[in-house]
């Protein structure tokens, strides 16, 4: 959780849609855009296949932030998966928010396959924000 200098390095898990965000991440790589290495990528076929329970599991096990990347509205490879996922995440974040469980650690963003720049910029922003939030309270909660 801390790098060699002792600075807090958040553990971040990213669910990237195969058709857009994962491809944008490929493009960011291909164009050698640099972003912090904290994010751990999990490719999914569609953002709509990311169940809140996966997100919760990541957070409770010690991740400091979870990112879900989907296709730009209207662009979903599976017609409307991104819209469905957005509702689920909105509901789920509302649950966490109501109970004061730091919903800010979950981000949902649309990044198209062409937006390598946006991907890198978003990863920088996400990592910085999670650093700012500090370690997740779940991290050490052995009794959760």
């Amino acid at each position: 959780m801390a790098d060699l200098d002792g600075e807090f390095e958040p553990v971040l898990v990213g669910f990237f849609c195969n058709w857009c965000t994962a491809t944008a991440a490929d493009l960011a790589g291909t164009t050698r855009l640099q972003y912090p290495p904290n994010i751990r990528p999990i490719r999914t076929m569609c953002s709509s296949s990311v169940d809140p329970v996966y997100i919760l599991k990541a957070l409770l096990r010690g991740a400091d932030g979870v990112f879900i990347g989907g296709c730009v509205p209207g662009d979903c490879h599976y017609v409307s998966g991104n819209f469905k996922e957005r509702r689920r995440i909105a509901a789920f974040k509302t649950i966490l928010d109501t109970l004061g469980l730091e919903h800010e650690r979950i981000w949902l963003r649309w990044i198209s396959a062409a937006e390598g720049q946006k991907f890198a910029a978003t990863m920088r922003e996400f990592t910085a924000k999670m650093k700012e939030l500090g370690p997740s309270p779940f991290k050490k909660g052995w009794s959760i």
Partner: protein
């Protein structure tokens, strides 16, 4: 056909009047069976009972202020595999009717051939309290109603104290409503039909004069307002007390993962709960040890917070606030308040009111193209 009628109360005996109404339904073949609360021989509890013979209605206690099980679950049991071929009348409180509507949308119940009889409910007490109350009172239901109507809510379950729907809201789903609120129980109560079948019943029972709903509506509005006030007060307090991981863990500390809360919940309809399934619980010792290593220790059974949050994630949009989850907890975890609070928030997010209408789409299977923006959160 008449839309409403006054059900006269003979000799000031309210339970008998309703019982007679129910008997009429069976006698006149308006229904072939009735699902009603009937007093058990033990004399200290009522259970929903499927009655086909009029005689068995003698012990019916439709006004008994106790809800051991949410009736929506029983209707689901009855009709899930195949709709009823015989006409069955079912008496339901508001929270039961609303839960039933949700279960119908979730294909867990079928309203075919059911006559839904909604009944005003001023609130219920726990099964234990009811047992005691029965011992102390000759006519417990009447006594209970009187006390609550006089403003004494000390016997009510907390869920009922903040229930803003003492009357069935879903007039389109129930065929007929028994209106108690605002009525003079010694004289007569209101029957209101909301379907052709309901009208047929009022017509067949030859009750005479049409009723005047205005009195009930006024009383209902006042009661609802008061309940909402209570609700907001309590939930506001809950929110302050519960915020954050530490408070949540404090609340859930007694949880032993028996999962009775989900068994009691009318909305939790799964055959095998994900949270009891091999996917979530079957891991090798090595894995558990690795989790322990990560945090230095691991509470067992593990994942109590995960369980409750995932359950909320599954049922919050449809939660009707009946509070039976809390009653079911062997260790008395006060689940009702946080669930109610979260339910309200999530339902407001989608402008959804569970049980309002069969036509409202379940929020999580629908979407709008223009909503929430990119973060998925307002």
């Amino acid at each position: 056909m008449p839309q409403s009628a006054v059900l006269k109360v003979k000799d000031g005996n309210l339970p008998n009047a309703i019982k007679d109404f129910l008997k009429g339904l069976l006698e006149k073949n308006l229904v072939e069976a009735l699902l009603v609360p009937v007093e058990l021989p033990s004399g200290n509890n009522v259970m929903l009972t499927l009655v086909t013979k009029v005689e068995k209605l003698e012990d019916a206690r439709p006004l008994a202020p106790v809800m051991p099980v949410n009736a929506a679950k029983i209707v689901s049991t009855l009709t899930k595999l195949a709709p009823s071929e015989k006409k069955i009348g079912v008496i339901l409180r508001s929270c039961e009717l609303r839960a039933l509507t949700e279960l119908v949308k979730l294909k867990q119940a079928d309203l075919t051939n059911l006559i839904l009889i909604g009944i005003d409910c001023l609130g219920t007490c726990s099964v234990a309290t009811y047992g005691m109350f029965c011992r102390e009172n000759a006519s417990p239901a009447e006594e209970f109603l009187k006390r609550v109507a006089d403003g004494d809510d000390s016997l009510l379950r907390e869920a009922c104290r903040i229930c803003e729907y003492p009357a069935p809201i879903n007039s389109e789903a129930s065929d007929i409503t028994i209106g108690l609120i605002g009525m003079d129980w010694k004289e007569g109560i209101l029957l209101q039909a909301a379907s052709p079948e309901g009208e047929l019943i009022i017509d067949a029972l030859e009750l005479g004069a049409e009723g005047d709903p205005s009195q009930r509506e006024a009383a209902l509005a006042a009661l609802t307002e008061e309940r909402i006030r209570q609700r907001d007060l309590l939930l506001q307090q809950t929110e302050q007390e519960l915020k954050g991981q530490d408070n949540m863990l404090q609340l859930l500390a007694p949880c032993v993962a028996c999962h009775n809360c989900r068994i009691a919940c009318p909305i939790c309809y799964c055959k095998e709960c994900l949270l009891d399934s091999p996917t979530m619980v079957e891991f090798e010792a090595e894995k558990y040890v690795s989790w322990a290593e990560q945090k230095g220790a691991l509470r067992m059974p593990a994942d109590s917070l995960l369980f409750h949050l995932v359950r909320l994630n599954h049922m919050a949009t449809s939660c009707v606030g009946c509070g039976l989850c809390e009653d079911a907890c062997p260790n008395g975890i006060a689940l009702m308040k946080p669930f109610r609070l979260v339910g309200l928030r999530v339902q407001r997010l989608f402008d959804y009111l569970p049980g309002r209408s069969l036509d409202d789409e379940l929020p999580l299977t629908a979407y709008r193209e223009e909503e929430f923006g990119e973060l998925g959160y307002k």
